[in-house]
């Protein structure tokens, strides 16, 4: 892992880059240097300007100011196509896939193989995609339509697409946010293989542990400004974090032995769905954080959706506070005090075209109706501002459209929505996806506070350390089955992974 630090001219060099949006100066005189053959991590809090900087490089936005140099030569980017031609490939933070097209069609959009110059050759297309996946060690059906893929698999498609360009500069904007450890390994393997003396990788992530493993240097942004660049080898996580947030963050700790309440607030028995789930049963106690671990496609999301009535169940019993219930849709679940935060932020979480305040109160709107039936907008704004402050959501105002927020701040908006609702049972599916380290800690604290108040939380997460840090108990799923429910004290990464990979004897994913 010795980067070619001696090279005089950097592979990519940016200086004096600025970009403003109405009400926000997203980037202010930022510089960045990517050397040949290196992986440069770019870190910063939510809304620091990381994605904006990358979108400039991808030709999506045009900068207000700044010079770009590629191998010492100044250039400007006219658009996405031009960026591709220059050898810059990007994996976007928010997916940019065409859900109605197949995986292979998505990957090769704009570069379709044709037979005789006229007709599309989908067989060749699928073959190329298959070759690509084989090379990358992925098992995805190239002919599957993207809308049928889980978020994690969509992420893999994005990654494969970017790698298929034979680019010189590969930009990855939080590629692991939706992946779990096994898939992260695959990705790192890919990055190492991609890296040659001619290429370089810009890697954005909020997972600090990854930085040491993959990056050579780390550039820190804060509030749209360049702060510093560190050599990974000679710096500590604590240093990086304090540069990012301007203060220090206390280390992680696991919950101690908690006195579990005997009250069962939610009990699930024999739950099966047509697609995946097989005979899942568990109990959730009052004041408990129950973590759900598992590999991609283990069925955790499907279980959550089945419980809140978003998907039909085939058999099984759900009991809330001792009463058996039939939950036909999420509205009924909400009435029973069960809230579900989806892992698919863009599609199922936020209402992108509405403002922050509207999103925060979306689940609680009826409570903001006055006696005569009018909405109490003052109260809505007050509540929204309260959460904007508590979760430190970076937005110029409560009236900003959510689509103009950074990814992490959008996630905070979704969390705020469910905190506002005051549900007794919260099912959080990948709640910290894309959230910066500082904010993560605050969210952990919030969840713990909720649990102390007697709320019960199911926390689905692909970040095993997070599950271990937060959960009183840990449920491990595999292939739609619930393989184990462990006490925090007895759980280690190894034990959890062991249960998560105990595939059924037949080894079939029906």
């Amino acid at each position: 892992m010795t980067p070619a630090t001696t090279t005089k001219t950097a592979l990519l060099h940016l200086s004096g880059v600025s970009k403003g949006f109405p009400g926000v100066q997203a980037l202010d005189d930022v510089r960045l240097e990517l050397r040949h053959g290196e992986v440069l991590a770019v870190v910063g809090e939510n809304g620091a300007g990381k994605s904006t900087l990358m979108k400039l490089l991808a030709g999506i936005y045009t900068p207000d100011a700044g010079t770009f140099r590629l191998n010492g030569e100044e250039f400007s980017i006219e658009g996405p196509r031009h960026a591709q031609e220059l050898g810059i490939a990007i994996i976007h933070q928010e997916f940019n896939l065409m859900p109605d097209l197949t995986v292979a069609q998505n990957i090769f959009i704009g570069r379709e193989p044709r037979s005789g110059g006229v007709f599309l050759d989908d067989r060749a297309l699928n073959r190329s995609a298959q070759e690509l996946f084989d090379r990358l060690g992925l098992t995805i059906d190239p002919a599957e339509r993207v809308e049928h893929l889980t978020v994690a698999r969509q992420q893999m498609v994005e990654i494969a697409k970017a790698l298929s360009f034979n680019a010189k500069v590969l930009i990855m904007d939080e590629p692991t946010a939706a992946l779990n450890d096994a898939e992260v390994e695959v990705l790192f393997e890919l990055i190492q293989r991609f890296r040659t003396p001619d290429t370089g990788v810009i890697y954005i992530s909020h997972r600090m542990d990854e930085l040491a493993r993959i990056s050579d240097r780390i550039t820190v942004l804060r509030d749209g400004r360049y702060i510093d660049t560190l050599e990974t080898a000679t710096s500590t996580v604590g240093e990086v974090i304090s540069l990012m947030v301007g203060r220090t963050i206390t280390g992680e700790q696991r919950p101690g032995q908690v006195q579990r309440s005997p009250d069962v607030v939610l009990s699930v028995a024999g739950l099966s769905t047509k697609k995946l789930l097989k005979n899942v049963g568990f109990e959730l106690h009052r004041g408990e954080i129950l973590g759900f671990a598992g590999l991609m496609g283990a069925g955790r999301t499907e279980l959550a959706r089945a419980i809140v009535g978003a998907d039909p169940i085939e058999s099984g019993r759900i009991t809330v506070d001792g009463r058996e219930v039939q939950i036909g849709n999420p509205a009924e679940a909400a009435r029973l005090g069960i809230g579900y935060l989806s892992e698919d932020r863009k599609r199922l979480g936020v209402v992108l075209e509405q403002d922050v305040a509207t999103n925060i109160v979306l689940s609680t709107l009826p409570a903001f109706t006055s006696k005569v039936g009018f909405m109490r907008d003052g109260a809505i704004i007050r509540t929204a501002r309260d959460f904007i402050g508590r979760l430190r959501i970076k937005t110029p105002s409560a009236n900003q459209l959510v689509k103009n927020l950074s990814g992490g701040n959008q996630q905070k908006v979704v969390i705020a929505k469910w905190l506002a609702k005051d549900c007794d049972i919260l099912i959080f599916d990948e709640p910290t996806r894309g959230i910066d380290v500082g904010a993560k800690d605050e969210i952990y604290a919030l969840l713990e506070e909720l649990a102390r108040q007697g709320k019960s939380i199911i926390m689905i997460s692909s970040e095993l350390p997070e599950v271990l840090r937060m959960s009183h108990r840990i449920a491990v799923m595999c292939e739609g089955r619930l393989n184990a429910v462990l006490d925090n004290a007895e759980a280690t990464q190894e034990i959890v992974m062991d249960y998560a990979t105990r595939f059924s004897a037949e080894g079939t994913v029906s």
Partner: protein, 317 residues
């Protein structure tokens, strides 16, 4: 704050095209800006305007309602049934006819929200069924309101003493204000926007989307019913063969007013302006005695230009 102010300036500017058109016609023809002609334009805008008001809600949810034209006709026929055939008191007949419009909306809503039939198909089917039933119920002949002469004054009479300001226009203004308040200030309005922006996310937020969609279509149906009543009043008769094509005009008014067929965006003010642009254009060209075949060309061209200018304006704002 600042963004709210900007929003209001934008809405004022949305008048720009309308005002330009009005100024043009005033200069071109001195008959245009007479009291009689202006109230005539307003009255002409009421029927499609009312349809457009209701449809604004449906369109903001990301749906569409093709049944408003013939649904209005059927409501007019039902007004005839209630008042002339059954001899009900005026107020009761009118209320029942409006509720009947709501019933049509309810059926649309159930088809869309419960049976999950695409709104285009569900309301197309309703359009055809309503067209047929209007003819069946009326026996393919107009129903007149001989027994209720007051009924005719509902649209064209003038409540305000002294000035000739048609009641129909007054009703339209009041109803538009109500629609605006409902859209901006009530739960129904909020969910209308939210469903249109992201139906799935709204559903997962614990909102009973099915129920609210039905409510929205039903609410929109009430406007159809009222439009039917006013139409019947203006024509002193329920004309059973009318109505086809009105839906397009109303939807055009909505879209010209800046409401997006993709859903999630729209306003009542915009719809009112859209309806006025259509009515002013039609009237102005007639007043100028432009040959009829050229009128159609001119309306098309002006709509295009007006919307294009509106797009430019928003881009620069």
């Amino acid at each position: 704050m600042r963004s709210r102010l900007r929003g209001q300036i934008q809405q004022l500017l949305a008048f720009a095209s309308l005002i330009a058109i009005v100024v043009f016609f005033s200069v071109a023809n001195d008959r245009f800006l007479t009291w009689a002609n202006v109230t005539g334009i307003l009255l002409a805008a009421t029927v499609t305007g009312l349809l457009a008001l209701g449809t604004t809600f449906v369109i903001i949810t990301g749906g569409i309602d093709l049944s408003i034209g013939t649904g209005m006709t059927l409501s007019a026929v039902m007004t005839g049934v209630f008042l002339t055939y059954l001899g009900l008191p005026l107020w009761l007949g009118v209320i029942l006819a409006i509720l009947f419009g709501g019933l049509l909306g309810l059926i649309n809503g159930v088809n869309v929200a419960v049976l999950k039939i695409p709104p285009f198909i569900a309301t197309l089917a309703m359009m055809l069924v309503a067209a047929g039933l209007s003819l069946v119920i009326s026996g393919t002949a107009p129903i007149y309101f001989k027994e209720t002469p007051d009924f005719v004054r509902l649209a064209t009479g003038s409540l305000i003493p002294g000035i000739r300001f048609p009641n129909g226009v007054l009703i339209f203004i009041i109803v538009a204000i109500i629609a605006g308040v409902v859209l901006k200030k009530t739960l129904l309005g909020r969910y209308t926007f939210s469903i249109g922006s992201n139906e799935e996310a709204t559903e997962l937020s614990g909102v009973n989307v099915t129920k609210w969609k039905i409510a929205i279509y039903t609410f929109a149906g009430l406007f159809t019913g009222l439009a039917g009543v006013l139409l019947a009043s203006r024509l002193s008769s329920a004309q059973p063969a009318l109505g086809m094509g009105y839906e397009l005009e109303a939807i055009a008014a909505v879209v010209i007013g800046g409401t997006s067929l993709q859903g999630g965006k729209g306003s009542i003010v915009g719809t009112v302006i859209g309806a006025l642009i259509m009515a002013v254009l039609t009237n102005g060209l007639r007043i100028m005695s432009i040959p009829q075949e050229w009128q159609s060309v001119a309306v098309g061209a002006v709509i295009l230009i007006a919307v294009y200018l509106d797009i430019l304006r928003r881009k620069n704002a």
